[in-house]
């Protein structure tokens, strides 16, 4: 790249990076992102750190001292009282809720009520329901009067954990984790969509600004229009990359820091603890594994599923498809800007550019559910949709030849659109006060001067 183009890239980059809006976006982006991840976990732990006592009025007398307590959840079994009495005194007591169990509970499951002055949390309800179901099941089985019941139960109980394995062409196999792949696919696809729109529109606005302020004529008396267009596209693309990398770094830093400050005393948030204990306490009996080991096992599995997603490949793919998609669309946005005198003139030309982008997002929903389907395949080949669709498919594993073909088509197309846009651009930037339509643009394209 020659000196003048570099100079233009430098100006486009520096004037934008110094803007307040860029700095605000750079800081707010990761904060929002981190808040989305940390927030729910944080609130969940805040809630569960408070010790809650639930008053139990058990008319059936089947569950007294049978519901397991946890560190933060205690049960107080009341005798010789009624719901009405407890309700009258409720404001003075420290009870979180009142659990009423009618005596017909074994035949009518809806005979259990949890009452409080606020909606009780989902975790607590599930905890009580699970405990009671298990207790009823135990008592019903006990009624059959089978010898060595506990041993039999322990022996028959088996936990199934389905692992999905994908056979590779080279004979190796890879464990796939669809849920995580779906999330990563969505985030990748949306980010590309977002960046193309955001920074493509900036290119367009930049071109219109130079045109409407008439600075363009001085510029093109110093550099060729193509250098100017290329410099602007590359400069703004670098702003996008910088923003993305800053987001990644800042997000990671914020999440890490918050973990260190707030969650250092907890290996796993306790809200999960209840569920985990529930799932594993019995299933691991056969293997005689202590509960702690089960915890670390599921944690290890989670880590394994995270590391199964090759983040190096993901980052590489993201950068490639972001740049390819951006270059393709930015050159179109630049030519739209050159044909307009003001932003309001751009409407008619914007439509054909925005339609494939929005279509990509719709197709992405389908592609994520069925990443190897015909729709996903074809739309990840078409260069106008491939950056978003292929990005969404990659976490599920895509054959190398497909990526190579899609990437090659994308590169070829953006070289073509940049060339095409350059032709429109150099005529458009010097055209003032004229309503430009498609017929006019067609003439510019055929016009060789």
């Amino acid at each position: 790249m020659d000196k003048k183009t570099l100079l233009i890239i430098g100006r486009e980059f520096i004037t934008r990076v110094r803007k307040k809006s860029f700095i605000v976006m750079t800081i707010l982006g990761p904060l929002l992102f981190a808040a989305l991840i940390i927030g729910p976990a944080w609130f969940a732990t805040m809630e569960d750190r408070e010790v809650r006592v639930i008053a139990v009025i058990d008319s059936s007398r089947l569950f007294i001292d049978k519901i397991p307590e946890t560190e933060y959840l205690k049960f107080d079994y009341l005798e010789n009282t009624t719901v009405r009495e407890v309700r009258e005194k409720f404001p003075e007591t420290d009870y979180y809720a009142v659990l009423y169990i009618a005596h017909i509970v074994t035949s009518t499951p809806s005979a259990v009520q949890l009452m409080s002055d606020r909606p009780p949390s989902m975790n607590i309800r599930m905890h009580i329901a699970n405990a009671m179901e298990k207790e009823i099941e135990r008592q019903k089985l006990a009624a059959y009067d089978i010898e060595n019941l506990d041993a039999i139960l322990a022996a028959v109980r088996t936990s199934i954990n389905i692992r999905t394995i994908v056979w590779q062409d080279d004979g190796s196999q890879v464990e796939s984790h669809s849920e995580l792949a779906i999330i990563v696919g969505y985030i990748g696809g949306f980010l590309i969509y977002f960046f193309i729109f955001l920074f493509g529109a900036q290119v367009m606005r930049g071109v219109i600004e130079e045109k409407s302020s008439r600075v363009i004529e001085i510029l093109v008396s110093s550099v060729r229009p193509f250098q100017l267009m290329l410099g602007k596209i590359v400069g703004i693309g670098l702003v996008g990359l910088t923003q993305f990398l800053l987001w990644v770094i800042l997000s990671a830093a914020i999440i890490f820091a918050t973990q260190q400050i707030f969650f250092s005393d907890l290996a796993v948030p306790s809200s999960e603890n209840i569920v985990i204990e529930d799932m594993f306490s019995s299933s691991t009996l056969q293997q005689a594994q202590p509960v702690e080991e089960a915890d670390t096992q599921i944690f290890r599995e989670f880590l394994a599923s995270v590391s199964a997603i090759n983040f190096g490949v993901m980052l590489g793919a993201f950068l490639f498809y972001f740049l390819g998609g951006y270059l393709l669309y930015a050159s179109l946005f630049a030519s739209i800007g050159s044909a307009a005198d003001s932003e309001t003139d751009t409407q008619q030309f914007m439509l054909p550019v925005t339609v494939p982008l929005i279509l990509s997002i719709i197709v992405m929903m389908n592609a994520i559910m069925n990443p190897d389907g015909a729709i996903a395949f074809w739309f990840s080949m078409i260069p106008f949709t491939s950056p978003i669709i292929m990005m969404a498919r990659i976490p599920f594993g895509v054959p190398t030849w497909e990526i190579a073909l899609s990437g090659g088509l994308l590169v070829g197309t953006f070289i073509f659109t940049t060339w095409l846009a350059g032709k429109i651009y150099r005529t458009g930037i010097l055209m003032y006060g004229k309503k430009v339509n498609y017929a006019e643009v067609w003439k510019w394209l055929r016009y060789s001067g």
Binding site: R11, E209, E217, I218, L219, S221, K443
Partner: protein, 317 residues
């Protein structure tokens, strides 16, 4: 020595012909006027010289050789539609445009310091362009045009949009630039500035060159052999003395007992013969040849051209 020349340059746009077979020769060190009515093709020609657009046919020469793309670094252009980055600060903007024209940062800085000091605008350094008045912006625009000390300066309608004080300043700067050896082309329809500044002109109308050459030569060429004679004596005697070779166009009493006559002489005679005829009879107070102003020539030529065109269409029709 010619600094710049255009030979047979033609340019068509989608819907009209902007230039057809235009040639011009700009001597080094001259101030060259590009004249013509609106829409004649002046701006297109200036854009071609600046390599903003390429001609369909024809050749451009710079320093006697074919013009190359690197030559734009030796041209300074101030377009008719002035424009700067509104949100960019004055200092940064000056450095940026200087570097775009091939200056390194250090040289650009030194020269900017000189100009900023000259125009006494040092305090604007950190102001954004949009905070400046129009006159102030014009000064910045001028500095950008001359910063890289180009051999050829091109001003498109330089005096439009300037108030009289700034217009005068610009005129002096243009003359000073020529003193330092620069060649200047400017387009205008302000004829008084042409007479004041230009050595050479090209008149373009309707995409064609109508006349090209030295201003004085053109005015001589268009003179109508009319003399203004101021005299004291019997004014009635004047017509009696002068024969058929002379024609008194009009005569007025300019001062008490002094008259001013406009006399046209015909081909066979000369101004000396006229003077020798008059001297024995009158006390001559002034004797000058009437040379037409560029304004008259301009209007005359453009009208004549249009008549020809309408006659041609009449004949063809």
């Amino acid at each position: 020595m010619e600094l710049f020349a255009a030979r047979n340059v033609s340019k068509s746009f989608v819907n009209h012909k902007a230039l057809s077979g235009v040639s011009m020769h700009v001597p080094a060190g001259s101030i060259y006027g590009l004249l013509g009515p609106n829409g004649a093709g002046k701006t297109t020609l200036l854009r071609i010289i600046n390599q903003i657009t390429a001609p369909d046919t024809g050749e451009l020469f710079f320093h006697g050789r074919r013009m190359q793309s690197a030559d734009i670094n030796q041209i300074g252009y101030m377009p008719e539609e002035r424009g700067l980055y509104k949100k960019m600060k004055v200092g940064e903007q000056l450095i940026y445009f200087g570097r775009l024209k091939g200056l390194d940062k250090k040289t650009a800085m030194e020269r900017i310091k000189f100009w900023v000091g000259k125009f006494e605008i040092r305090s604007w350094w950190n102001k954004k362009i949009e905070e400046l008045s129009k006159g102030m912006q014009q000064k910045i625009q001028f500095i950008i045009t001359v910063l890289h000390e180009p051999g050829l300066l091109i001003f498109d309608e330089p005096f439009s949009g300037f108030d009289p004080i700034n217009a005068n300043m610009l005129k002096n700067e243009i003359l000073a630039l020529r003193e330092r050896g620069a060649t200047i082309i400017f387009s205008t329809h302000n004829m008084s500035s042409v007479e004041e500044l230009c050595d050479h002109i090209t008149l373009i109308d309707n995409s064609k060159v109508i006349i090209e050459g030295e201003v004085n030569a053109i005015r001589q060429q268009f003179k109508l052999d009319i003399y203004r004679v101021g005299f004291q004596g019997d004014e009635k005697k004047l017509r009696q003395i002068l024969g058929g070779e002379y024609e008194v166009l009009d005569m007025v009493e300019s001062k008490p007992s002094e008259h001013l006559a406009r006399i046209k002489i015909h081909r066979q005679t000369t101004d000396n013969m006229l003077l020798s005829l008059l001297l024995p009879h009158f006390h001559i107070t002034s004797f000058t040849e009437e040379i037409p102003g560029m304004n008259d020539i301009f209007i005359d030529l453009v009208n004549r051209k249009q008549e020809e065109v309408s006659q041609q269409t009449y004949q063809h029709g």
